[in-house]
């Protein structure tokens, strides 16, 4: 790690009162990057902006971790028709609650990042899609967007240049699947959130069949930092292969749950014990889910030396995901936990693909049986078998996301599951 996380000063959510007010944001170098790009469009040509972001290697913060600049470079050359940037503020994966901090505390940083992204990809309209439950934050972001329009950072001939861009805010109505990028496009088009088959990829045929790039809110909030300070500076924050500041959401059995900003690569145990104040009630740590419910759980004995970045978590047998870590203490019943996760995926399957629609239901049904003490040992194999038949056989990754926790929770906590399935536990009729 390039620096000690304890001496880190937050960049995405700095401790500046009323930063959500545009005047305060401007007083703290706000919109400096945007002005910099617009005032020297030779130096900051579209390609140069893309290359700088590509070199910084911002890995998408929505969970997939793909290089954002590379994603931008997939947009085809302009052909005179409309082009879009769709900003994904639909965070809904259990354990993940970070983007609303940006909406609430530093909305202009996101708006500025989205504008620079929009400029680099030459988009006409930036759509921001926020989950419907976040209506309080929709209102907060709308105020920030209105203020940005008023100051001339958005709209026609931005700051007297020939660059024009609109930003429209919209929101969903309760559906986890709309966080999947193509389902979000369908929802933005006013339809049921059914994911689309790829290819064609959104960069070719996205919103209304026009070139569209989809980026996560936190990802875009990193962009002004890179333009202001350069890719090299950015690459020195946190771990090398997954650099930059990260909003860590920490929830579950810790003393101080919440969203904390630190560099990537903070040791998992430091996050739990020092940042989040340790396990509640002085209990022992049992397990964590590192980055949202789809990321495989890790037992406490698997966490020594593991840091919050993709390589380290992959080596440990899990994934970075959204860095929304769920912490579980020694009393946690993993059967109950897995059942509740399975229930979530069954509820949120859009129903379009049979393996997911039926499979998520089966996973939940078998887990209810086990949880109620009616399970048999062969049910554990059945769960793994159903999972194998779901994974990779659907349009989107929701089925995979439902399978991973089942497979890895059973494998890593098999004793607990077997104990619940033992026939001797039942009264003989």
């Amino acid at each position: 790690m390039a620096q000690d996380w304890k001496s880190y000063e937050p960049l995405l959510i700095p401790d500046i009162p009323n930063l959500q007010e545009i005047d305060v944001y401007e007083d703290n170098d706000g919109y400096k990057a945007w002005k910099k790009v617009l005032s020297d469009q030779n130096k900051w040509s579209r390609n140069n902006v893309i290359n700088e972001v590509k070199a910084a290697n911002i890995r998408g913060r929505g969970g997939a971790g793909f290089n954002a600049g590379l994603k931008w470079s997939f947009m085809p050359e302009p052909d005179g028709g409309p082009r879009y940037l769709a900003c994904n503020g639909d965070e809904s994966e259990p354990g993940t609650f970070k983007d609303r901090k940006i909406f609430e505390y530093n909305p202009h940083l996101f708006i500025e990042g989205a504008l620079i992204a929009g400029y680099a990809m030459k988009v006409d309209v930036i759509y921001v899609y926020i989950r419907g439950e976040y209506i309080s934050w929709v209102h907060q972001l709308q105020k920030a967007v209105d203020d940005a329009y008023e100051k001339g950072y958005l709209g026609e001939n931005i700051l007297g240049t020939d660059v024009s861009m609109e930003m429209e805010l919209t929101y969903g109505a309760g559906a986890y699947i709309c966080g999947e990028e193509t389902a979000m496009l369908e929802s933005l088009e006013g339809k049921r959130g059914y994911p689309r088959t790829k290819p064609p990829f959104p960069a070719q045929k996205g919103l209304w069949n026009r070139p569209t790039t989809i980026n996560n809110i936190e990802t875009l909030a990193n962009v002004p930092l890179i333009i202001n300070n350069g890719a090299d500076w950015y690459g020195n924050i946190g771990s090398e292969e997954h650099p930059g500041p990260i909003l860590y959401g920490i929830s579950g059995h810790v003393n101080r749950p919440g969203v904390y900003e630190y560099p990537s690569g903070v040791p998992v145990l430091d996050l739990i014990n020092e940042v989040a104040g340790g396990i509640r009630g002085g209990k022992e740590l049992k397990a964590i889910i590192p980055g949202g419910s789809s990321t495989p759980p890790l037992r406490a004995d698997q966490l020594e030396g593991v840091t919050m970045n993709s390589d380290s978590l992959k080596d440990a047998g899990s994934m970075m995901g959204t860095a929304g870590m769920v912490v579980m203490d020694e009393d946690t019943d993993m059967v109950e936990v897995l059942w509740r996760i399975a229930h979530f995926y069954k509820h949120e399957s859009c129903g379009q693909c049979t393996p997911c629609r039926e499979g998520t239901g089966w996973l939940e049904k078998v887990l209810i049986k086990i949880k109620n003490g009616e399970g048999e040992m062969k049910d554990l194999d059945l769960l793994l078998d159903v999972g194998n038949q779901m994974e990779g056989r659907t349009i989107c990754a929701l089925a995979d996301a439902a399978v991973w926790p089942v497979r890895h929770t059973i494998n890593r906590f098999r004793d607990e599951f077997e104990a619940r399935c033992k026939k001797s536990a039942h009264a003989v009729a």
């Binding site: 304890k6 001496s7 880190y8 937050p10 959510i13 401790d15 409309p82 965070e91 809904s92 259990p94 354990g95 993940t96 609650f97 609303r100 901090k101 609430e104 505390y105 989950r131 419907g132 439950e133 976040y134 209506i135 309080s136 429209e168 919209t170 969903g172 109505a173 309760g174 559906a175 986890y176 929802s187 933005l188 088009e189 006013g190 339809k191 049921r192 959130g193 209304w208 929830s251 579950g252 059995h253 101080r256 749950p257 919440g258 969203v259 904390y260 020092e274 940042v275 104040g277 929304g324 769920v326 579980m328 109950e336 936990v337 509740r340 996760i341 979530f344 509820h347 949120e348 859009c350």
Partner: protein, 183 residues
């Protein structure tokens, strides 16, 4: 039910929404919200109004309304208490809160009290995992870090017409962050 219609003001709002998108269809979700905010639900006749106003097939509007959980396809109580019981809330006592509400209001999750005042639902992740357990009040503000006592106060306040206000949860974390760094 009397003939349903949007007021002139609501129609203007709908025009503003339509102008945000290149197709009328794209306005479906937002106009369903306008309708639900007016009528409190989107039962079939409300869906028809939305379809007629946007000149879209009723089947499309019905398909959208049925897909998204926040649209009420049947009448709900004056106050809807959506209790999150998903992962982090489950770990921190979400089910205790849900069952406390069920007992207190003498209904089961999904039901409405006889006086039509409260509906209690068990819902999936609301993205407030660090402030668990929590609930959302009728598609509006979040009420965080619930205890049974906090729930009791909330119910009393709602009965007296006093709704909770938006509660910011982030700044205390920053203070804690600084504290953690200095430890």
């Amino acid at each position: 039910m009397a003939e349903l219609s949007f007021t002139e003001e609501e129609l203007q709002e709908i025009e503003r929404i339509k102008a945000k998108f290149p197709t009328v269809k794209a306005a479906t979700l937002r106009v369903l919200w306008v309708a639900q905010n007016k009528y409190g639900h989107v039962e079939p006749e409300v869906q028809s109004l939305v379809a007629e106003t946007l000149d879209l097939p009723k089947s499309h509007v019905a398909g959208v309304a049925s897909f998204y959980t926040q649209y009420y396809k049947e009448k709900k109580g004056k106050f809807v208490l959506d209790v999150c019981t998903c992962l982090s809330c489950q770990l921190c006592g979400g089910y205790d809160i849900l069952h406390h509400l069920e007992e207190k209001l003498d209904i089961e999750a999904g039901e409405t009290t006889d006086d039509g005042l409260f509906t209690v639902n068990e819902v999936e992740c609301l993205g407030a995992c660090g402030y668990a357990p929590m609930l959302q009040l009728t598609n509006d503000v979040y009420v965080n870090n619930l205890t049974k006592e906090k729930v009791d106060t909330l119910i009393e306040n709602l009965k007296n017409g006093k709704k909770p206000e938006f509660e910011s949860m982030a700044m205390p974390e920053l203070e804690k962050r600084n504290q953690a760094a200095s430890e």
